[in-house]
Symmetry: C2
Subunit: 363 residues, 2 copies
């Protein structure tokens, strides 16, 4: 099938670009002796997780047990759930999964330890535990080495939990490359304070898991980390391009849309809106909802659920009802989550049709 | 099953509130001799469409043929696709559907007429056509009576298309009630200019389809409309509450979430983010992503995909990992679209488990 034969909106991946991105980060991680455990939130497809593993990833990361279940059922068996599981249902689900795969979970509370401790006991399974620490993003993670030590010792009291080390998510380092070294230095000061406390306490840290896409190729600058968990690096998106950490040529995923209306002067309406792109806005001004690859003068100015509103009043391009455009979404992960299928293309041919089987697994 | 037994995040509808909302608008429409054709984008579930029809709706509205297919397959057979279908695939799909149901489509271009004209000819089916006009929202719709007349005459040249009248979407009337009458007067001036032109041309307008939730109970103030297409009125959401057109007691849908982390001072993290609520922001300042029903002092300040970030620094409430909260989402339609199931509850019991079968149908 040719790409032109897909009805729109269609989410399309350039396989050459994706494979190049996967290989490049794998080589970087290997050269820097870092384990690579990509976050599958970006693609939500076991076959792509297996591609990443075949290229050297040691395993993958997910956010919820429902996503882990999809991966395990498709034979991906080294998993980290980078999310504090505090409901009995989720802890039980994770403990069941741990009978079928190598499983690690990050957490930051005694409640999560208790839930996983009793879940693993009930199912007679083992889960590796990473204590999440906050390195400045202010989302999850304990703030002090003392709090982390308390949790580590609490983990060690549970017969079926294995304390493995520390985990952090530097979500606040989504910055232009030139601003990253100073921000990484601040993170390092925090990391070092934790390392010192654990060393004094005599507790080993075999795993320190960090990293995300914006700083992926600077991961060697973080003190003492053993593993990185970037997600978006294999596809990239408009927000990463605007940030300066990816080029347009590094973007593997686009949404093909059709111009549905040009009736209103200064506007072109495409057949994808918030149900196609998610409502994630651009981080930079002017606010926009994606980049139109055929027309840098068009501003993707508003979204209805099924309508993308392009402001073309400053564009010299002539828009025609029925023509197709390629849109680079702001945020690739939330875009993929809206859809049931991804199309992998090479030289204009649809080579792969992937069902996005881990889509929408919020539990 | 009790509501407490649902794992989180769970999207829950209070059936008493929903039924009251459905009945109230049905009674208003009947009293004002307006046909009610609710937009199913809000719930995406055939069973709820049938409830609306049982309470007096003449049919329902959808946005894409894929949604219409789900409705027809579940025996909902009077449909309007309120979207210009300009790709051959979608026009063909609509023409096929028209063999199994009463179907209307709105459009604003000769390209859409040509696509539907040849589709219906190929499938020997009939589709009723409404010309979309722009009454100030500047999304779709022709701007002048002359353009609408040209399209109406073009429709009349196609053997399998039936010209039915005009359609508009007053998306710019999402305003507080006190600002609505003046805005409706402006819309009326535009509507009247179209009515005059069609009268002079001797072309009847048996259908004029308008309306949306913010102005639903003021629909009688629009000149000459025969039908309204509100979607959200049966569930409502935080944006409608902030706008002043719905009360908190009118909101039927909430998302039940669990506090996953309180490790960072001033923050509580709940287990639903942009994959649970969509990224739709509040229309008003401060920007927030939903209202926490248990705590009016908490601000839902940011979203990650699986994390809802609550700023609780100005709250006197004590948050505890593992406790459950009810969140009223900003935008009910985009929230429902993220999920596979809705739970209908009454008196704390889960009475209905609905699969959201028309979710994600972007084509």
């Amino acid at each position: 099938m040719l790409i032109e034969e897909l009805d729109t909106p269609a989410v399309v991946i350039d396989l050459d670009v994706m494979e190049r991105n996967i290989a490049r980060l794998s080589q970087y991680a290997a050269a820097n002796h870092l384990n690579l455990r990509p976050h599958t939130k970006t693609h939500k497809i076991p076959d792509i997780a297996k591609l990443q593993i075949a290229e050297g990833a040691t395993g993958v990361t997910v956010a919820k047990p429902g996503e882990a279940r999809v991966m395990v059922d498709d034979d991906v068996r080294d998993l980290m759930i980078a999310y504090p599981l505090v409901t009995a249902a989720k802890a039980d689900h994770a403990a069941q999964l741990a009978r079928e795969c190598q499983l690690r979970v990050s957490l930051d509370s005694p409640e999560a330890i208790a839930a996983l401790g009793s879940g693993t006991l009930r199912h007679d399974s083992r889960i590796g535990i990473l204590i999440e620490i906050d390195t400045g993003f202010r989302r999850c993670g304990v703030e002090t080495p003392e709090a982390a030590l308390l949790l580590a010792r609490e983990v060690q009291r549970h017969s079926h939990l294995d304390f493995l080390g520390l985990m952090f998510y530097p979500g606040h380092l989504g910055k232009p490359p030139e601003e990253q070294p100073a921000a990484i230095a601040e993170v390092n000061a925090i990391l070092d304070s934790f390392y010192r406390a654990f060393q004094i306490a005599g507790i080993d840290l075999p795993v320190v898991s960090g990293g995300s896409t914006p700083t992926a190729f600077r991961s060697h600058l973080f003190n003492g980390i053993t593993e990185i968990r970037p997600g978006m690096y294999l596809l990239n998106d408009a927000n990463l391009v605007r940030m300066g950490v990816a080029g347009l040529d590094d973007c593997a995923l686009h949404v093909v849309v059709t111009v549905a209306s040009t009736a209103v002067p200064g506007r072109a309406i495409v057949d994808g809106g918030s149900k196609t792109f998610s409502s994630d806005r651009s981080r930079n001004e002017p606010v926009s909802y994606g980049m139109i690859r055929e027309d840098s003068q068009a501003i993707f100015v508003a979204l209805s659920e099924e309508h993308g509103h392009l402001d073309i009043s400053n564009s010299g391009r002539k828009y025609k009802v029925g023509e197709r455009l390629r849109v680079l979404p702001n945020h690739v992960c939330t875009t993929v989550n809206m859809h049931d299928y991804l199309y992998g293309v090479r030289n204009g041919e649809v080579e792969k049709v992937w069902e996005i089987t881990a889509r929408g697994k919020v539990q």
